[in-house]
Symmetry: C2
Amino acid sequence: MTAEPTTRRERQREATYAEIVTTSIALLREREDLSLRAVAQRMGMTAPALYRYVASYQELVDLVAFEIDREATERFRAAADELPVDDVAGRLCVSAAEFRQWAHGSPREFGLVFANPIADSACIRRDALTLSSSGHLFTGQIRAIWEQRHFPVPAVADLPPAAQQAVLDPVIPAESEGIAVEDRGLMWVYMQGWTQLYGVVTLEVFGHMDPRLVESGDLFVDTMLRFAPRIGLADDVPRLEALIRERIAAHPR
Amino acid sequence: MTAEPTTRRERQREATYAEIVTTSIALLREREDLSLRAVAQRMGMTAPALYRYVASYQELVDLVAFEIDREATERFRAAADELPVDDVAGRLCVSAAEFRQWAHGSPREFGLVFANPIADSACIRRDALTLSSSGHLFTGQIRAIWEQRHFPVPAVADLPPAAQQAVLDPVIPAESEGIAVEDRGLMWVYMQGWTQLYGVVTLEVFGHMDPRLVESGDLFVDTMLRFAPRIGLADDVPRLEALIRERIAAHPR
DNA sequence: CCACAGAAGTGAACGCCGTAAACCGTAAAT
DNA sequence: ATTTACGGTTTACGGCGTTCACTTCTGTGG
């Protein structure tokens, strides 16, 4: 977002940068291993040349993960956009369901983004990675539901100290800005919800669940619907279940 | 468990087998990479020799993961055993908290066991891996709570079809045997709980959560306590929170 | 007791991988 | 026009999983 004088060289460089990422993603999509050499070869270069752009293999992975997350989020958003803007509940469910479908269809990509130890690595972008762009989407959607229904939210004062800090001054810019301080308990509800969504999906994708439940998505649906009442959607449960199941029906791959 | 004629050679072989696993685990504990060459070198052998015991690197990983899970489960069980046998609620909480602590102290081991795609690999042991030995422990503990408190459990008939199959004829031997068919809804409750526990802990370990919440464990505690009422522990919440926080306090590493 | 089958282990080799260093042409900057 | 520095190549190192041919040893049956 800094000024972009974009000298010719800079533009070229940025283009190569982008090509590295797209090539990597293409590689993953074709179920091949992601390696510096493979990426370089596909671009008609040699591996060491990539070191002009990334400092290490891990940095490439981080870069790719970031972009994958961005693209996937766009997909979740597109799914939501199939519904009218005022159907905030439906939009959340559809996005979450699409998240699950994406995870099953692209398990390696899912693992890269959501099950990669990003703890120690370069501090740059760490904030951006810690809560990913998909985090932005879901926080925004939960917030939209709250603004429409004003479901009860825990008082900030009732939260444990660290939780208070976390909701008042989130490490992520997130969609929290503009939420009044006394309503920040909403962020806590969001984190509870994200924990559950993340839990079922990860469990499913990594195969630590009865295959029949993965196939049918019953535990996923159950988890979603069980959380719905906490965000004021108790009355919508039947409709939401239909929405979710419809989107779950088409088994990917 | 088959008959053990244990000719001398077979015993030797079994010993080497065991040494391979222990060496691998030692390697992981010292934060070194797990590789066939490293394992072999430490045992005073060469890498190709290991192929007399495992068919591939992945098979070694699976083997090690299995053993790690076993040992970790022993640790969770030991934690529970610090409490009297009739404190079924406390035992579950303490085991779960120990699970979390272990995951944080041994993130790589945790990843190996719980965030490894075990889907496609050799069918042998697949059952044993799908629900791991820790699964056995937790199912058993939830069952103990149910036998003491008889908290309400969904009727099997009310479950979705695939869920009915899953609770009636689980892919895992599990602790389900001996539970009357009409009470198998208990298994469903278990799966809901496991989803949540798995979700928070994985979220924490993989760094996709506000570091302050990881440090304090507040979201973990919240998740545990929020689930407690569903298994008839509403009245015990304050005591259980104390138990959990005590065990969470000592930050590993 | 001996010969033989087969198990256990070695050494060399192949084709990958990430990464480092030296080197070079060419495009930008002065 | 000269210098700088960027983007690229070559070569090389060490490590990886894996294969294969070969040896050594051990348990066993004649």
